[in-house]
């Protein structure tokens, strides 16, 4: 009678809910996610670190010497690209992989609040993303002698960037039923973020219409909040960027909740 405690006759277990249930579930899911990725985690972290540093060093090959302001712009831009890339590209590919393996249904049959599972996912993405950001900044300091001016605002800035990016990727990967399409969409996102988002260069370099579009997309605002916390004097209206990101992160959370609650 080993399961006696659970199935004692006549005792109706109440539905579990509340903060302690949420925190317990978050902890358990985080252990699951970290263990689940541990074989590839060192590789993912290394790849992120290399691409973060590589991005900065690659700029150096294009333009061997840069004015300090532009160097600071590029280096902080590379750091932000590293942060965004994990949530919008690596994360969705991991979810698509679950669908291919057939383990997706099992994961969604687990007795945890969806929001706790999503939060554990954001935490996992954070672990993968931070080294890439640090590598980009380190490479920038060594290669271009960028002078950083790091304020405590770096914590909320990095967090809101990660949460928004990861939740957008999360919502996408769950909303798209076919893993092949998820792979494709995340490739397109990489392309857009790398080439056509004013992250590592000012929005003024883009055609006017595209610059306007980016005022409503999150990427440029992610760059602005992170940049302003690392280097002073490059960004002016950071409050507006936080507002836009706040709206995006809430929208992404709402869409994620909607997608995860949806039953075909």
């Amino acid at each position: 009678m080993t399961t006696e405690a659970l199935v004692a006759p006549g005792v109706l277990p109440a539905k579990r809910s509340g903060l302690s249930y949420w925190l317990w579930s978050y902890g358990a899911m985080l252990r699951w996610e970290l263990t689940n990725t541990r074989l590839i985690l060192p590789l993912l972290v290394l790849a992120q670190a290399l691409s973060g540093a590589g991005l900065v060093l690659g700029f150096g090959l294009l333009m061997p010497s840069l004015p300090p302001t532009i160097a600071a712009y590029l280096v902080t831009g590379a750091a932000v690209v590293s942060l965004i890339m994990v949530g919008t590209s690596v994360g969705p590919q991991l979810v698509a992989q679950q669908k291919i393996e057939g383990s997706y249904d099992y994961m969604w049959s687990l007795p945890v609040p969806r929001s706790a599972a999503a939060a554990a996912w954001v935490a996992l993405n954070t672990v993968i993303a931070i080294p890439g950001m640090l590598a980009a900044l380190l490479a920038g300091a060594l290669r271009y002698h960028v002078h950083f001016d790091i304020s405590p605002m770096v914590i909320p800035a990095v967090l809101i960037t990660l949460i928004t990016g990861t939740l957008i990727g999360y919502a996408l990967s769950h909303a798209i039923p076919k893993p092949e399409v998820t792979f494709l969409v995340s490739q397109v996102l990489i392309f857009v973020i790398f080439g056509f988002a004013p992250i590592a260069y000012p929005a003024g370099n883009l055609p006017a219409w595209l610059a306007t579009v980016h005022q409503y997309l999150p990427f440029v605002h992610m760059a602005d909040v992170v940049r302003s916390s690392l280097v002073s004097g490059l960004v002016t209206d950071v409050g507006h960027s936080y507002l836009v990101l706040g709206i995006w992160s809430l929208a992404a959370a709402a869409i994620t909740a909607l997608v995860l609650r949806r039953r075909k």
């Binding site: 199935v7 358990a28 249904d105 099992y106």
Partner: protein, 321 residues
């Protein structure tokens, strides 16, 4: 729980469940009603594509019924998928995603995810690892496990801290015969502890030995339900005469006393009247002399024969003979 009425406060009920796709053109489940009570092992049998997994996914809230209700005790599982996931443990047909996990880790973390207190989860994990004789893989990574060991680990992950209902979709797939027996013993123990065990399988021979009651579904419809012996009442007075045909042989012309027949691989299974047994044996011998068959067997009607009559399909087990 032994001796208590089966129809308890924690009975699981699916009532008139219909699941349709393409605006009603495809009926994956067509008006299915079943009950599973605490303390029993209930089998849901049917050929591949009959709609078994579709039904199960509606129970745990991965799919939503087009109509009908699914309840567990006081809870409406369709309205409240969160409580469905809390109270039902599910072992899917696909292998568990445990490549990066050692067996014991996967079990302990799963117990935590299911809300089990650490010491109790650990104790029960140890008991089950020992009972299923997978001790030597306790610290082996999933990538290094055979399919059968992985299945057994998945089974423990699902039942180390079970819900009120435990749903097992083809649990014995890939498991060796010895450990299958051990697994069935654990499944029986779960029921004795008061869990309602909901077993999905297309292996009829295994189910006949292991379930208390069963339902057979085919093309989305419930075609029979009851105890294994009650389902055989229509075949009272019949016996099965089975021929192992020579490789490549055509099915021979069947004599008039054959009531029905089915072929699975080289197995030709016929159902005949008891009174025709002697004639049937003589006919089978003739087939061996003629080189059409290598051997024959005569025996009592099994659940398999009932299953074939109801679904027109031989089950997976028939190919294993």
């Amino acid at each position: 729980m032994i001796g208590e009425p089966l129809d308890g406060p924690w009975s699981f009920r699916a009532t008139d469940v219909t699941k349709s796709y393409n605006g009603g053109k495809t009926l994956a489940n067509d008006d299915i009603s079943i009950e599973v009570h605490p303390g029993e092992v209930f089998g849901l049998l049917g050929p591949n594509g009959a709609g078994k997994t579709t039904l199960v996914k509606q129970v745990i809230g991965l799919l939503k019924p087009t109509s009908g209700s699914i309840t567990l005790g006081p809870y409406d599982l369709v309205d409240d998928p969160d409580v469905a996931r809390q109270l039902c443990s599910y072992l899917p047909q696909a292998q568990m995603p445990i490549d990066s996990f050692k067996a014991q880790e996967a079990i302990i973390i799963s117990g935590a995810i299911r809300g089990g207190p650490r010491d109790q989860v650990l104790r029960r994990a140890n008991e089950m690892i020992t009972a299923l004789e997978i001790e030597e893989w306790r610290n082996t990574l999933g990538t290094k496990m055979s399919g059968g060991v992985r299945r057994l680990v998945g089974f423990i992950m699902t039942t180390v801290w079970p819900g009120k209902v435990v749903i097992l979709d083809e649990p014995t797939n890939d498991v060796d015969p010895l450990r299958r027996r051990l697994m069935w013993q654990q499944i029986r123990n779960l029921a004795q502890d008061g869990v309602a065990v909901f077993l999905v399988t297309h292996n009829v021979m295994e189910a006949e030995k292991s379930v208390d009651r069963l339902a057979i579904i085919d093309e989305g419809r419930l075609v029979a339900s009851g105890t294994p012996s009650s389902l055989k009442t229509n075949d009272r007075g019949h016996v099965r005469l089975q021929l192992m045909l020579s490789p490549g042989a055509e099915t021979p012309p069947l004599p008039e006393f054959v009531i029905r027949d089915t072929r699975a691989g080289n197995n030709l299974i016929t159902v005949i009247d008891e009174s025709a047994a002697a004639t049937g044996i003589a006919w089978a011998r003739d087939q061996m002399v003629a080189g059409t068959a290598d051997e024959y067997a005569i025996g009592a009607i099994t659940l398999e024969d009932v299953y074939v009559r109801l679904t027109g399909h031989a089950s997976a087990a028939e190919f294993d003979l």
